[in-house]
Structure formats: C-alpha cells, structure tokens
C-alpha cells in the first residue's frame, strides 16, 4: 500500500453513566456516528476490530448494525484493548488487504474500584485476604516514591485534576463537567494518600468508534486527511513496577512499558516529543499524568513541578495535555478509553474543539494508554 493509514470517521457515545443502555449499544451508537461522519454505510465496512473488557463480545454488534458477513475480530488486551484494536485495524489496511475498516471499543463497569481476585492475577489467596488486591494502593505507592525522588508536591497533583475538570467543561462527551477549585481537590476525602477522591478517575461507561482507510480511499471520501503516523503497543520490561506486586526487584520502578512504546512510536513517525502539539496521556490518577509526561519524553523527571505551576499543559500552553479532561473527567471504560484519546485528537486536528480547541493550527497529536498488567499503547496523528 502506498501512503498512510488515515482516520476518516469518528464517533463517541458520551462517557459516564448511562442507565438502561448496554455497553454494546453505546458501541453501536458510536459506530453509527462514525459512519455518518465518514459519509459511508455499514456495508462499506470491510473489517472490524472491537475491544471490550467487561461488556460482552464486540462482534455481536452485527445484530444491530447489519448482517453483512463482515470480518469482525474481538480484542481483549487489558487496558490496551482499544489501542490494540486500533493497531490491528491499521495493520489490516497497511497490509494492502483492505481499504476501509473500523476500530470500536466500549465498556460498562460496575461502580467503585475494580474488583479483582488474586487467582485472576496468578497470586495466592492470602494476598487478597489481607487487603492487598486494591489498585489504588499501587497508584498511591508509585506516586509517593516518585514525589520523593523528583520533588513533586501534592499541590501539583491537585493542579492536574483542576485542569481536567476545567477542560471537560467544553467537552460534550466528558462525564464530570463542573470545575472544581484546587483547594476542594486538595482537601477532598482521602482515598489513598496522597490522593483525595478528586485525584482518581472512576470506572465508567462509554463507546468510541474510529473508521480507518487507506490514503487513496480517504481522498475519495473527501474528508480532511488525518494520518495515523504511528501506533505501537508494548508490554512491560524488566524492572517495571506494576499493579498487584507482592515484591519488586531492587532498582525496580525505573523502566516502563510506556517508555518503550513511546520510543517505538516516535521512531515510526520519524519525529520527536518536541514536535508534538497536543498530548492525551493516561491519567488514571493525577500522578499518572505527571509521570507519563516524563516517561513519554515530553519533559525530564521533576520538571513537571514547574510545568504545572506555569500552566504549560493547559489548552493555551506549550503542550496541552488531556484537552477533554482525560480519564479524570471522562472516567475509564477500559475498552473505549484509548480510542477516546484518538477521537479527541482528531477533533483537535480538524479544528472542531470549540471551547477546548487548541489554537495555532495544531498539526501533530499524541495519545498514550497505560494499565494492567503492564501494557502501554501510543499513537501519533498528523494532519
């Protein structure tokens, strides 16, 4: 195939809580919106990859969309489910086998923290009995260590949440769209120190669909050409520190799946972090955004303290981060979360961001997902 893989249609079902609508139907909603956006019909779609962690088999949505016999492959890949669906869809077009297809992700999680059992993670029962199967403990331990090593203050964590809720005011698909004052964030009920309740995202619901096409097909459709310059997914290297770890090797916590996914994506795209105009970074909690700024190469460890104080990651800043409020404001339906980031970047690159639009005609945009069990997925878009 000559040319790049392009994103020609986008659709999203609002994130948050939608009682009475299944996760699958939120995915179908997103697909229909994406088809309309691209100006194509379901029978035009040659293949689909679908990701869902807890809301059923994505391929069953052919019941709703039409029994066209389309090739439909389900993807279940932890927190990288959406990113993996997108990566696979991209490869299907790159191979020359197909001209147009879809990556869709959706989910619908129960309220409250994810309810994990030791046996699902190859861990002994005592680990759960004693109260260690709690994801928030991991996130809090990880940031406490990072703050100690790199001089990050709790106020800086608060600024991340403050920015998320402020940005989400202008994002119709976001869940928590009311601004929250920094003092309220810092003084909110504590979940796991140093994090208050405002500093963690919540499991949620939502669906996102992206239609991908060859460059030739994209030109026929007459849509703005948004090129997927890189999509990379990586698993954890030695010396990483992941959720549900009864032990860590000495010197651990220094290498991450994010670092290697990011480096691979930049190499594919032939550009570097300094060339990126907008970034959507995994923000399961405030500290994740902070750490991921450095792990993705946008700043050095410790510089986040100044970046946040000076507003460099605000919509009007040097590198706007999480322009739709990220996971903190949208919640985290696992199968849809990574695709939401790409959706937001397409909106921004088309100039359709309304009150949250990044000014200056941005040409490059970056997404990053990280999650259990130590997986990361990165994309780079160019217009």
């Amino acid at each position: 195939m000559s040319g790049d893989v392009c994103i020609v249609g986008i659709g999203i079902h609002p994130f948050g809580r939608t009682d009475g609508v299944s996760g699958l139907d939120q995915g179908v909603f997103a697909v229909r919106q994406a088809l309309a956006d691209a100006g194509v019909e379901w029978p035009d779609i040659q293949f689909a990859y679908g990701g869902s962690d807890a809301a059923g088999n994505p391929d069953t949505m052919v019941d709703r969309l039409g029994l066209t016999g389309v090739q439909f492959i389900n993807v279940r890949n932890g927190c990288a489910a959406g990113g993996s669906a997108l990566f696979s869809a991209q490869m299907a077009i790159k191979s020359g086998e197909f001209d147009i297809g879809i990556a869709v992700g959706f989910d619908k999680h129960p309220r409250g923290a994810f309810n994990a059992l030791p046996s699902e993670y190859n861990l002994p029962d005592w680990y759960g009995d004693a109260g260690y199967m709690v994801t928030t403990q991991f996130f809090a331990n990880k940031i406490t260590r990072y703050m100690h090593l790199h001089g990050i203050s709790r106020t800086t964590l608060g600024r991340v949440a403050e920015k998320a809720f402020r940005n989400a005011v202008h994002a119709p698909h976001a869940w928590r769209r009311e601004p929250v004052a920094l003092e309220e964030i810092l003084e909110g009920a504590m979940v796991s120190d140093p994090y208050s309740k405002y500093m963690f995202c919540s499991p949620a619901e939502g669906g996102v669909a992206l239609i991908l096409a060859s460059e030739k097909k994209a030109r026929e459709l007459g849509k703005p050409i948004i090129r997927l310059k890189a999509a990379a997914m990586r698993t954890r290297p030695p010396k990483s520190f992941e959720v549900f770890a009864p032990s860590i090797e000495i010197g651990g916590g220094t290498a991450t799946a994010t670092q290697i996914a990011s480096a691979a994506a930049f190499e594919m795209a032939g550009i570097g972090p300094q060339d990126i105009a907008i970034a959507q970074l995994q923000d399961t909690e405030c500290g994740a955004e902070i750490m991921h700024m450095a792990e993705n190469g946008f700043c050095r460890d410790g510089e986040q303290e100044r970046w946040l104080a000076e507003g460099l990651t605000e919509i009007g800043g040097k590198l706007p981060v999480n322009t739709d409020g990220g996971c903190l404001a949208c919640g985290e339906p696992i199968g849809a979360s990574g695709l939401r980031q790409v959706y937001e970047n397409v909106v921004q690159l088309r100039g359709d961001g309304g009150g949250r639009q990044v000014q200056g005609d941005p040409k490059t945009a970056y997404t990053h997902v990280y999650g259990a069990p130590g997986v990361s997925a990165v994309t780079i878009l160019e217009r």
């Binding site: 030791p118 005592w126 979940v191 120190d193």
Partner: protein, 131 residues
C-alpha cells in the same frame, strides 16, 4: 493464633519472610512461587521504607477477609538490602511519622485485632517498636 498462609514466615522468633530464589538466576522474589524453578529463601528481617500509602477505605469482599469494622492502615514497600523490595503493612507507627528511608523490622500482626483466634499477617515496624 495462626498464620494467614503456610510457607510465608519462618518459625523463628522473631520471624522472617520466606521468599523464593530462582535457581537459574539467583533472582529473589516474594512470596516463593509454587513449582521447582524457585527454592524457599528466608529474607532479611530488616530494611528501609521504599514507598507507602494509607488505605482509607475498606477493600471489597471478596477478596478481602478482614473484619467488617474498618480503621485505615498504612501499607507500603520495604527494601531488604541487596535482595528484594516487599509489599507489607506498616505497624506500630503513627501515619505522620512514616518517612521513606526509615529503618524497619518485620513483625506479625493480627488481621482482625478483635478476633478470638486471630489470623496473623506480616507487617514492618520501626526497629524496636512495640504494639
């Protein structure tokens, strides 16, 4: 009183954690995995605090099997020099006195202090501290 699981602590007084040493590489992990790649290995009794947090809500049951009543607890990681960093409760220390780098030693604490026949879990405490 009984241990929460077999093969986690040595029978010494005071006890040590039992990790696993990978026979091929010498790498040390905790707990000792089943199978024959690892052999049991008693870990150092003292170390320094690597990181920590305070668990402020009662974890979901299942899998948590502690008491219905809940008081926040400290949980973190302790670096056992030259061997491995282990996850553990922190005991017999006020939350505000917890500092990364502090010297700690292993102890056993009841999962439910009010139980008639408590189950014991591992914890680390400031060296020389008592309940």
């Amino acid at each position: 009183m009984r241990d929460i699981a077999e093969g986690l602590f040595t029978a010494e007084n005071p006890p040590r954690l039992i990790g696993g040493r990978e026979k091929d590489t010498g790498r040390i992990v905790f707990p000792c995995p089943p199978g024959d790649r690892f052999e049991p290995h008693a870990l150092p009794r003292t170390g320094t605090l690597w990181s920590y947090t305070i668990q402020r809500f009662r974890p979901k049951t299942p899998p948590y099997s502690g008491p219905e009543s809940f008081r926040p607890w400290a949980v973190g990681y302790v670096e056992l020099p030259g061997e491995v960093i282990v996850e553990t409760r922190l005991a017999n220390v006020a939350f505000e006195d917890i500092k990364i780098g502090m010297d700690l030693e292993m102890t056993l604490v009841p999962l439910d202090p009010d139980a008639a026949d408590p189950v014991l879990i591992h914890a680390f405490q400031p060296v020389g501290a008592t309940a």
